[in-house]
């Protein structure tokens, strides 16, 4: 079986990219700018990181019934995620086994089969070739010649309903890969009165002209809000001639970005193996959720208590996680029901898809708050997000400069504290420990030969 993808050509072209030269790019408190700007390294990342890690694809609720499908990318690989007739979820490369055309154009839908527009080759929701024209033109069954049909992704698994796949035949299990970060997914799901969540409310798709790592580094960077978001913090503080229940949650979040340094310093920031990290002990519902004093929140709490009891509810609502990063392609907010999937397109171009989730069994008002929050935080024209995107692009442009080679990641270096379950905690919440941890994982992926 050949390797999933090969960078042989790239490696020949850029012979200088070898293990020794890669090792020199990452030091304890700094990285070489090439990790953000070198196209050859980017191609190698697709092979060695995105070709090996477990990558999140979405959620089982997006393919609820047999025949349901959606299209997305696995790293840069175009794939179809489909629920087969036997109930299993299949991940198929979106490329006709015959002459290579993309076989599925729809973003999502429900179908019994995928029919290629070019010569009518037809595939089941398991990718198997079920029909083609002029069978007599082949000396042996065409399916045998093309490996059965659409290429299947080797490993597919799910954790608490969140779908993952790996392009590598072998490697750690999904549970091993996620490690202690599983607790963030548990938090996401446990907050639902029925113990289940579902994707709802559409998908934001935003682009920036910068490296894929920049967004992952930013989400747990607690020093950036005061500077990047200075204008939206200021604007929200000015007071307005009107108020309203709809905008409350968004305005509160803009204000929260302006929290004093002591809040950020005391925020918990944990990292674990494979480059993962999460921020916690930051928001509680009283700071942010507009519905807290609303009857809907009391209804929500009562619904949670029916499943979890009083103590269980206190425990679940007391879990105060903000962003959780699953390296290399996911960032989510369990407490606010947002999940972002990172698609690396080129060394200096990245697409992020942002999804909202509904807590099953919670009052509809909770979901409306989720969307109102999402519009202000993740919307393509958000007063908050647009400043992040602007800064990613300025960073990418700055890193093109050859005059200075190193990117400094030293904040909190030397102050990291080993914690439970093999995690490490930043000495303060403003540590850059999460970025150093991502690069430790980066180096491991990039220098491992298999």
């Amino acid at each position: 079986m050949p390797r999933w993808s090969s960078v042989t050509q790239t490696e020949l072209q850029y012979a200088f990219v070898n293990v020794q030269s890669i090792k020199g790019l990452v030091q304890a408190d700094r990285v070489h700018r090439a990790v953000y700007s070198d196209p050859a390294l980017f191609e190698l990342e697709l092979d060695r990181i995105f070709g090996r890690a477990w990558l999140i694809l979405g959620h089982e609720s997006q393919v609820h019934r047999p025949g349901d499908f959606f299209t997305t990318r696995l790293g840069r690989e175009p794939v179809i995620v489909a629920r087969h007739t036997d109930g299993s979820v299949r991940i198929l490369v979106n490329r006709c086994a015959h002459r290579g055309a993309r076989v599925c154009e729809a973003a999502a839908g429900s179908t019994a089969e995928f029919v290629c527009a070019y010569h009518g080759w037809t595939y089941g929701t398991d990718g198997g070739l079920v029909g083609l024209p002029l069978r007599g033109g082949y000396t042996r069954p065409a399916a045998e010649s093309v490996g059965g049909g659409l290429t299947r992704v080797p490993r597919v698994d799910a954790y608490r309903g969140f779908l993952f796949a790996s392009l590598a035949e072998h490697g750690p299990t999904l549970a091993e890969f996620l490690g202690p970060l599983r607790a963030s997914f548990d938090d996401f799901v446990e907050r639902a009165p029925e113990g289940e969540v579902e994707v709802a409310g559409g998908v934001f798709k935003h682009v920036y002209q910068g490296n894929w790592k920049l967004v992952l580094e930013n989400h747990n960077d607690t020093v950036h809000p005061a500077f990047v978001h200075a204008s939206s913090i200021w604007a929200a503080r000015q007071g307005t001639t009107a108020d309203g229940a709809y905008s409350e949650i968004g305005v509160r979040q803009m204000l929260q970005n302006g929290a004093p340094w002591e809040v950020w310093e005391n925020t918990g920031l944990w990292v674990s193996g494979h480059g993962h990290s999460w921020m916690a002990d930051y928001h509680d519902d009283s700071r942010l959720v507009a519905a807290l004093e609303h009857p809907a929140f009391a209804d929500y709490r009562a619904a949670l208590e029916r499943r979890l009891g009083r103590e269980g509810t206190v425990r679940v609502l007391g879990e105060l996680r903000w962003n959780s990063i699953v390296c290399p392609n996911c960032s989510f907010m369990s407490q606010f029901r947002q999940l972002r999937i990172v698609h690396p397109i080129a060394v200096d171009r990245t697409v992020v898809r942002a999804y909202s989730f509904r807590l099953k069994g919670a009052p509809e008002r909770m979901f409306r708050d989720t969307l109102a929050f999402s519009n202000v935080v993740n919307g393509t024209a958000s007063p908050v997000l647009t400043d992040d995107l602007e800064v990613y692009e300025r960073t990418q442009q700055g890193l093109a400069a050859r005059g200075s080679a190193w990117v400094f990641l030293g904040r909190g270096h030397g102050g990291d504290q080993p914690d439970r379950d093999g995690t490490v905690r930043g000495g303060t919440g403003t540590s850059e420990i999460h970025i150093r941890n991502q690069f430790a994982a980066w180096l491991e992926y990039m220098t491992a030969e298999s």
């Binding site: 973003a107 709802a200 409310g201 559409g202 998908v203 934001f204 798709k205 935003h206 682009v207 920036y208 002209q209 500077f227 990047v228 200075a230 204008s231 939206s232 200021w234 604007a235 929200a236 000015q238 307005t240 001639t241 009107a242 108020d243 309203g244 709809y246 905008s247 968004g250 305005v251 803009m254 697409v351 909202s356 979901f367 409306r368 969307l371 109102a372 999402s374 519009n375 202000v376 993740n378 919307g379 393509t380 024209a381 007063p383 997000l385 647009t386 400043d387 995107l389 602007e390 800064v391 300025r394």
Partner: protein, 162 residues
């Protein structure tokens, strides 16, 4: 042939929409905001034919308060994505009065917008609907809906106002 009253109404509405476009093209955002009622909504749906701003995400769904925050943000010296502010041309066309019966007049139009910022020009197209209200200060916008033809695309951050 249109009745004289219709000609007058069309002329009034067209001039109002041109004025809104002119204010945006000249960076007069406070005056632009003053065109909106206190209970106004400004909506850019995420999905084609989106029915509801409260059950599906929106590229923008601002009530009056968020609209004020959005306009104020342009005035801050560190509004990174808005400095420099985009230079724009809003070309309003195909103005059509849809409904005059109720408290508000519903007006459909098309918008072609050319935006320039930081070495890059972007072209936008949109189907627009205004709900205009007659007030003591003249016509005011009670609701504006902007359906971008590429709302479902993978989009760079949007900082211009449509």
């Amino acid at each position: 042939m249109r009745a004289a009253a219709d000609v007058e109404l069309y002329s009034e509405i067209e001039q109002f929409l041109y004025k809104e476009a002119w204010l945006l093209d000249h960076g007069r955002l406070d005056e632009w905001l003053a065109l909106y009622t206190d209970d106004a909504t400004y909506w850019i749906p995420l999905e084609a034919n989106q029915a509801d701003p409260l059950t599906t995400s929106s590229i923008v769904y601002d009530d009056r308060r968020l609209l004020e925050v959005r306009v104020r943000q342009f005035q801050h010296p560190r509004a990174h994505a808005r400095i420099p502010a985009p230079r724009t041309v809003h070309q309003v066309g195909n103005v059509r009065v849809i409904e005059t019966g109720g408290r508000d007049v519903r007006v459909g139009s098309t918008l072609v917008l050319v935006e320039y910022r930081r070495e890059r020009q972007r072209l936008w197209g949109a189907i627009v609907e205004h709900r205009l209200r007659r007030t003591a200060e003249g016509l005011r916008i009670a609701a504006k809906r902007v359906d971008l033809v590429n709302s479902e695309a993978e989009l760079d951050g949007i900082v211009c106002i449509f």
